[in-house]
């Protein structure tokens, strides 16, 4: 995988950069060179280290070793302001706006145009923002506060902010995840114009076709390590996927055939106003049902409501024929429902508590007698499940935050499997974990289903859905758009339903 790199000096480059967080080695000896007038794609699975790499370029993280080069000379960014002053603009995946400030102020915070005596020129701020929006073809009111903007609109504000720098390097972490087709086209137009005027662009997207559309060069990361840097020309999507995954797809999705039994989870006409509407589906024993859809389609919200963390406004949920109440997770748990939530660090785990305490958070009934905790029972329950899921840990008393992403996810799974559930809902079960653990999690889910568990799997990872699910439900804008059996589920059929061009609409 040698790469005939140009002779020019890169505008911004990383050489041999490593970065660890506790026991997690997020980046290992990674190099990357960004050239003027070139769009560079960064490819890699979730958790491959892309975000960490960006934060190293943006001055948010200081590399543990290795150097950042600006115009060929080593630099140290002491903070985001340093990187910004060097002409590096970053659009983060999750918008970082100030909800209380107006859109215009959000874009120009800390560098507002000024009048005499250093006073902020509010009018110019507004005018400049309006100009940026015109350039982007966006119709947003610069005076509107950022609070209450949809994710797509927030993303547009971020893009406008990055454009306002006239940056030499523009870094975009999945800027298109929440945009419509026409917005993406417009964004790409602006990016091309920037590139042609000599800016270097680093682009991350999960949509490979966008990489091929926009970029000239691609660097692939896997599990924090550099795999390849090469021109996009001559590569196929399959080549890229192979570099990212690093193994055979069959090995990654070891789906066993399962005997499908009676209905375990039944959801009828479930509605939460303004979030999702009229959602009905069943999940049977032995079945893995995939729930697909675009970001913001309401998948996780359905899962939260079914489990009871959010209330629902109308509809019914039954587990093994037992009706659940709206907004009562403890009831759902005792009926045999388990939810492995989307956000492991915020929702799945109490990061600063020990592995043992985390696993036992769902098992006070099993580990206490007459209202008093039984230390022995606590320890043996935790050891038992940590071993069953092969969690790699030093001591059970270790803080769960010191584990790697994959092992953290295993602890979350252990915590829920220990409740002996009848229905398991997993929301993005392999987000941000390494490929090896990912395969392990898939094997586990497959095994559980074969043993008669009903599994509802939400995922943004389309190959994962196609590889693991017996049946694919697709949500589109808060409604269930399609129910596709395994045999008919293809990338095209699922995407069609997810973007509203599904069978129902056609």
């Amino acid at each position: 995988m040698t790469d005939p790199e140009p002779e020019r000096t890169p505008v911004l480059a990383l050489e041999g950069v490593s970065k660890s967080f506790g026991a997690v080695r997020a980046l290992r000896d990674v190099s990357l060179r960004l050239y003027a007038g070139e769009a560079h794609a960064l490819a890699g699975e979730n958790g491959a280290g892309k975000s960490t790499l960006i934060k190293a370029l943006a001055g948010v993280h200081r590399p543990d070793s290795g150097t950042v080069l600006l115009d060929g000379a080593p630099v140290v960014f002491h903070g985001p302001a340093d990187a910004r002053d060097a002409g590096v603009a970053v659009i983060y995946q999750e918008p970082t706006l100030f909800p209380d400030l107006s859109i215009a102020e959000n874009i120009f915070v800390g560098r507002q145009p000024r009048r005499s005596f250093g006073r902020v020129d509010h009018k110019s701020v507004r005018q400049a923002t309006a100009d940026l929006f015109r350039r982007l073809g966006v119709d947003l009111d610069p005076d509107q506060p950022a609070r209450g903007l949809s994710i797509a609109d927030q993303q547009l504000v971020e893009i406008a902010k990055a454009l306002s720098f006239d940056a030499r390097v523009l870094i975009m972490d999945e800027p298109t995840a929440a945009l419509t087709g026409s917005e993406v086209a417009r964004l790409f137009g602006v990016v091309r114009a920037l590139r042609e005027s000599g800016a270097a662009v680093l682009f991350i997207s999960h949509r490979l076709e966008e990489v091929f559309q926009l970029c000239q060069r691609v660097t692939t990361l896997r599990d924090g390590a550099w795999i390849a840097s090469e021109p996009v020309e001559g590569l196929t999507e399959d080549d890229l996927v192979r570099r990212m995954v690093g193994r055979d797809l069959d090995e990654l999705y070891p789906k066993q055939d399962a005997k499908v039994g009676e209905v375990a989870l039944s959801v009828r006409r479930l509605t939460r106003e303004g979030v999702f509407t009229d959602v009905s589906f069943d999940v049977r024993r032995g079945e893995i049902v995939g729930l697909a859809g675009l970001v913001g389609a309401g998948r996780s919200e359905v899962a939260r409501a079914v489990f009871g963390v959010d209330r629902w406004d109308a509809g019914e949920v039954e587990v093994d024929g037992r009706p659940l109440k709206s907004g009562a997770p403890s009831l759902a748990m005792s009926a045999g429902l388990a939810l492995v939530p989307e956000d492991r660090r915020e929702q799945g785990l109490v990061m600063e508590m020990s592995i043992e305490r985390n696993i036992n958070l769902t098992g006070f009934g099993a580990t206490s007698r007459a209202g008093l905790m039984n230390r022995g029972a606590e320890r043996s329950r935790a050891v038992d499940w940590a071993l069953r899921l092969q969690v790699k840990y030093a001591r059970l008393a270790d803080v769960v935050g010191t584990l790697s992403g994959g092992n953290q996810q295993k602890v979350v799974l252990a915590k829920w499997l220990a409740t002996d559930p009848r229905v398991l809902i997993v929301d993005e079960p392999t987000r941000g974990i390494d490929v090896g653990t990912k395969a392990e999690v898939h094997r586990l889910l497959s095994q559980l289903a074969a043993d008669g568990l009903a599994v509802l799997m939400i995922s943004s990872d389309l190959p994962e859905i196609l590889g693991m699910a017996d049946r694919v439900l697709v949500m589109h804008e808060g409604r269930l758009a399609a129910d596709i059996p395994r045999a008919e589920a293809t990338e095209e059929s699922v995407m069609a339903a997810a973007t509203g061009r599904g069978r129902n609409a056609a």
Binding site: S18, Q347, V350, E352, M353, S354, A394
Partner: protein, 357 residues
């Protein structure tokens, strides 16, 4: 994807560089409440040997009697702070309870009826705080600053500037009396009972386990099926109830029910609890540490009065201790992290050499 950088509330995850070392926070908190306990022991030993009049029964009973109201409220306050909330209205609740007690006594009600009514009042005060915090989702700090003023104001409305002193003798005796010939106040016995209950609840029951989880990450606790709101509400009610009981004890101990009884008590309670290593952000601490913190402050004040340090300097020292108690663990953590970084940097050169080579 969000790479592991920081845990939810921006608290940094353990800064250990070695993969299997004892987690930093566990070491820190372990060290902290042990240190406070040890300091208390050292202070007591020094005082016994070096400070005149410290060791006599009268002084010791003074010390304990004056510290008891703080120690009483510190029990539920510890649990409340561990769950991530705070109640600044405890002093006012105690004052209100005392004022109502005085008012009803003046009205001729029997003390056996009055005390349960005062306890009920504490339940109501706690409910008001708790409902505003859990149902409306308001910050407990703002809510209880409001009720701090409101409860004290109501106490003033109830009793005006009167003071009621003529409570029945056997109750006054209980408030200020000692057990037999010892230095232990009679009221220390119910406190000890409450202490045992609190220790068991916090450190050996599902409720306690849940409190720690809620304080460390409310969201994760909710996703584990813990009834966060109900739990917090019950902690507010417990705090209100114990505060009202403390108000009754205060009026009996000092043989005077006034509307401004126990003014500023909340500050002493919080200072003691934080000094004892309870993390203000929730999720960390032990009751032993909190009790040690409270008695360390109490003993310090007692000793300082004996050696003729003015009351004003005592305030100063309380403040300094409070600042140190929140500053020290964080400074220690940062020093630890810096050391870990240095260690990582020492290990780095070979890797870098490899990269360039």
């Amino acid at each position: 994807m969000p790479e592991p950088t920081k845990s939810p509330q921006g608290k940094a995850t353990s800064g250990t560089s070695g993969g299997f070392a004892v987690p930093a926070w566990a070491r820190d908190s372990l060290r902290w409440d042990t240190v406070v306990g040890a300091l208390l022991v050292v202070l007591l030993i020094c005082s016994f040997s070096m400070v005149d009049n410290f060791g006599n029964a009268l002084n010791l009973s003074f010390l304990i009697g004056n510290t008891l109201p703080i120690a009483l409220i510190a029990l539920p306050m510890t649990m409340l702070v561990i769950s991530g909330e705070i109640d600044l209205s405890v002093g006012s609740t105690a004052g209100l309870s005392g004022a109502v007690m005085g008012k009803l006594w003046n009205e001729g009600m029997s003390i056996e009826t009055i005390i349960p009514l005062c306890v009920l009042l504490g339940v109501v005060c706690g409910l008001v705080n708790g409902l505003l915090v859990t149902r409306l989702g308001l910050p407990s700090l703002a809510v209880t600053i409001g009720t701090l003023a409101a409860y004290r104001g109501i106490a003033q409305i109830v009793l005006g500037s009167n003071s009621v002193t003529d409570f029945p003798q056997q109750y006054l005796d209980f408030g200020s009396g000692r057990i037999g010939g010892t230095f232990i106040p009679q009221a220390a016995v119910p406190w000890a009972v409450l202490l045992v209950i609190a220790v068991i609840v916090l450190h050996a029951t599902p409720v306690g386990r849940s409190l720690f989880a809620v304080g460390a990450s409310q969201e994760a606790a909710r996703f584990a099926g813990i009834r966060v709101k109900r739990l917090k509400l019950s902690m507010f009610v417990a705090t209100g109830t114990v505060s009202a009981l403390t108000g009754v004890f205060w009026a009996l101990h000092y043989a005077s029910a006034r509307y401004d009884n126990a003014t500023g008590l909340e500050l002493s309670v919080i200072a003691g609890v934080l000094l004892g290593g309870i993390d203000f952000d929730g999720g960390k601490g032990t009751l032993g540490g909190a009790v040690a913190g409270v008695f360390l402050l109490g003993a310090l004040q007692n000793v300082m009065s004996l050696v003729n340090v003015s009351a004003q300097s005592q305030i100063l020292i309380t403040g300094v201790l409070l600042v140190i108690s929140v500053l020290a663990p964080r400074v220690a953590r940062q020093v630890g992290r810096a050391r870990a970084r240095r260690k990582a940097a020492d290990a780095a050169p070979p890797a870098a050499a490899l990269a360039t080579g």
